[in-house]
């Protein structure tokens, strides 16, 4: 029993279970928490697969930043209240599950055909991650994939600006009653465009 066997067979069910739980939970906050569990398991897998840097980044960025953002929004909007799980659209659920199974099956078939039981080079950690994974990764990132790196940073800036713009409170068409109430109460908070 190699260590990675154990790791895999312990964390894989957790991973799948928490993913299913994300789907099934009524409360959105509970779904978010289960998703965080799922991210943790994935981080462990990255570690096992020889990507310790990604293990760290996954936890810091995904579980630490993105999910926190999610939780912020859930609580801000107050939509963690229980959502009715009655499906109004006929055939949506069965169709979705069926097609999901089909999708998974297809990937299996494709994978079995081409990957088989490959295990990867045995000396991965020594050769590929020479000098540590971070150093090796930075070597590849800043040399071979420099353009995508720069573009991605621009993307980040654009996304930040976009989020600021989108999240502003805008002037919207008001009824006369609302306008009068507004006059009396004075302009509320929020930045005007």
């Amino acid at each position: 029993m190699a260590p990675d066997h154990i790791v895999f067979w312990v964390f894989a069910p957790i991973s799948v279970g928490s993913a299913v739980a994300v789907l099934v939970q009524r409360n959105a906050v509970h779904s978010a928490l289960f998703l965080i569990v799922n991210f943790f398991t994935l981080a462990v897998f990255y570690l096992v697969l020889g990507a310790p840097f990604l293990f760290a980044v996954q936890i810091i960025v995904y579980a630490g930043a993105i999910m926190v953002l999610f939780l912020f929004v859930i609580m801000l909007l107050g939509v963690d209240r229980d959502e009715s799980l009655v499906e109004r659209l006929r055939g949506q659920r069965p169709m979705a599950i069926l097609l999901g199974l089909g999708l998974a099956a297809e990937v299996f078939v494709t994978v079995r055909a081409s990957i088989g039981l490959a295990r990867g080079p045995a000396d991965f950690d020594q050769v590929v991650n020479e000098g540590g994974n971070a150093e090796a990764l930075s070597r590849v990132l800043f040399r071979d994939y420099f353009l995508p790196f720069e573009v991605t940073s621009i993307l980040l800036i654009v996304a930040a600006v976009a989020a600021m713009v989108l999240a502003q409170e805008r002037e919207r068409a008001r009824t006369r009653a609302e306008a009068e109430a507004f006059q009396v109460a004075g302009p509320g908070g929020g930045v005007r465009t």
Binding site: L89, Q92, M95, A96, L99, L103, E106, V109, T110
Partner: protein, 628 residues
Amino acid sequence: MLRYAWVVPALPLVGAAVNLFFGKKLDRWAGVLASALMLAAFAVALAVLADLLALPAEEQLHVQHLFDWFTVGNLQVAANLRVDPLSITMMLVVTGVGAVIHVYSIGYMDGDPRYGRFFSYMNLFCFFMLALVMAESFLFLYLGWEGVGLCSYLLIGFWFERPAAASAAKKAFVVTRIGDTFMLIGIVLVFLRLGSLEFSRVLVEPGSLAGPQRPSGVYTIIALLLFAGAVGKSAQIPLHTWLPDAMEGPTPVSALIHAATMVTAGVYLVARTHVLFEISGVALTVVLVVGLLTALYAATCALGQDDIKRVLAYSTISQLGYMFFALGLRAYAAAIFLLVTHAFYKALMFLSAGSVMHGLEGEIDLKKMGALRRAMPVTAAMFSIGALAIAGVPPFSGFFSKDQILEMANRAGYTLAWAVALVAAFVSALYIARLIFLAFFGQDRTERRSHESPPVMTIPLAILAVGAIFGGLLGLSAATGRLHVFLGPVLGEVEEHTRGLPAAILTILSVSVAVAAILVGWFVYGSGRIDWLALRVRLAGLHRFLAHGWYVDEVYSTGLVAPAKAGSAFLAYVVDSRWIDGAVNAVGQLFQWGALAGRRVQTGLVRNYGLAFLIGVVAVFVYVGFRL
């Protein structure tokens, strides 16, 4: 002058065109122009007659080629004119009586808003009638035939704002159409079986036509079909119903078209094609029977009418029946003679009736007339002359024409027919006596003021009266009358009959019948000794029966018109509206339904769209998977 015979129809045609386009501007001169053209046509016709008489009797025939019209296969159609004794007689009647009636109309139609149009139609009618009688081929005869039918429709419905007039015009057209259709089939058969449409080729002596190649059956069919057309146009049973209703038109129209000329076209047709009828004996018998029955039937109906013009209408039908009766007896010249005298006295009576109506501001009901001879003496005198002529009192023209026919019937051995005709003669004299006594004698029952008509109307009456009185001179005897001899080359020699009673006895019989009827009429209607209104109430059923023309119209209405209307309604509302329109609409609906069903795909829900995506993705995967 023979070469210019075409001028005779051309003049009224010009008049029709001028009045059609410039009638409004011409105003009162439209009538003068139309009448002048008719008088000119009459003059030219007289000149043509003179030229014709100059030729020897056997050669009194002039065929003139005017122009080629068209050629289709074996059929070559050309406009040819025929001038022979029969056609010149008809031409003179049309132009002469027509001219007189045009002059009368100048006064009668004065003040009508469509004055010019009226004269245009009248001239157009005369053109077509002349084309009919001067035609050398069946096709041109048919052209004139249809043309006079059209003008009849236009003129009956001249006051088309009145629904009764519009209906009457429609009825006249439709009923005569029935006859015309049969006639057209007959003409087609003439071409198919006899090889040509030209009279000179087809209407030759019987001996050379009948034979193994052309059995008489063909002739019977052709003759009967042509006679069907005559039945329609000349208002014989069973296509007579349009003529009494046609009295909705102006009185000059009734005089010209429905007394003197158009209705006589049928008589002309049979006379012209008598050769075909003679080959087939059956057809002649049919003509005889139809004519005789119509004569009696119409005479009885005339007895029950209260409208002056309807009495005269039924009288016309009855007299036409006499003409066909004569034709059936092979007394063609006698029939034409009756046609000529009838044109005079019937037109005279119609115009006189118009004068009465004009004087009474439009009254037509006999019950509201009486003792008019004091207020309108001239009109009364004219009317009486016509009445005596129609009753068959010598020496008026009507006596000669009617007596000849009765004599020929008896002496040719048709005793039963002669007896029936004699009864009809009695009834004829009776109804006309009733008319005269109710209108001009007896108590004054008028509700309106009455006055005599202006000279422009009474002078034409006088002219016609002269014809009614002295017309008999044209045909004093069936064998030797001037007209009969003149028509001999065309209509065949008159046979001498020797059976039956002697001519003198027959004459005395027919005269006494006429006088007896007049006496009865005076006694019942004129002397005041019998309350004829009470008599009518007592015999109410009989009176209604006669007044409605033996209910023939009602029978047609329920038996033919109603089913036809029901059929049309079915076709219009069910077949057309529901099925055909429904099918077309259904195609449109189909697309609408398809679109309605199709737009349900646009649910607006992201999740549905996502599902659609996934279906597509899976499908692509499957495809790629299989390929790999």
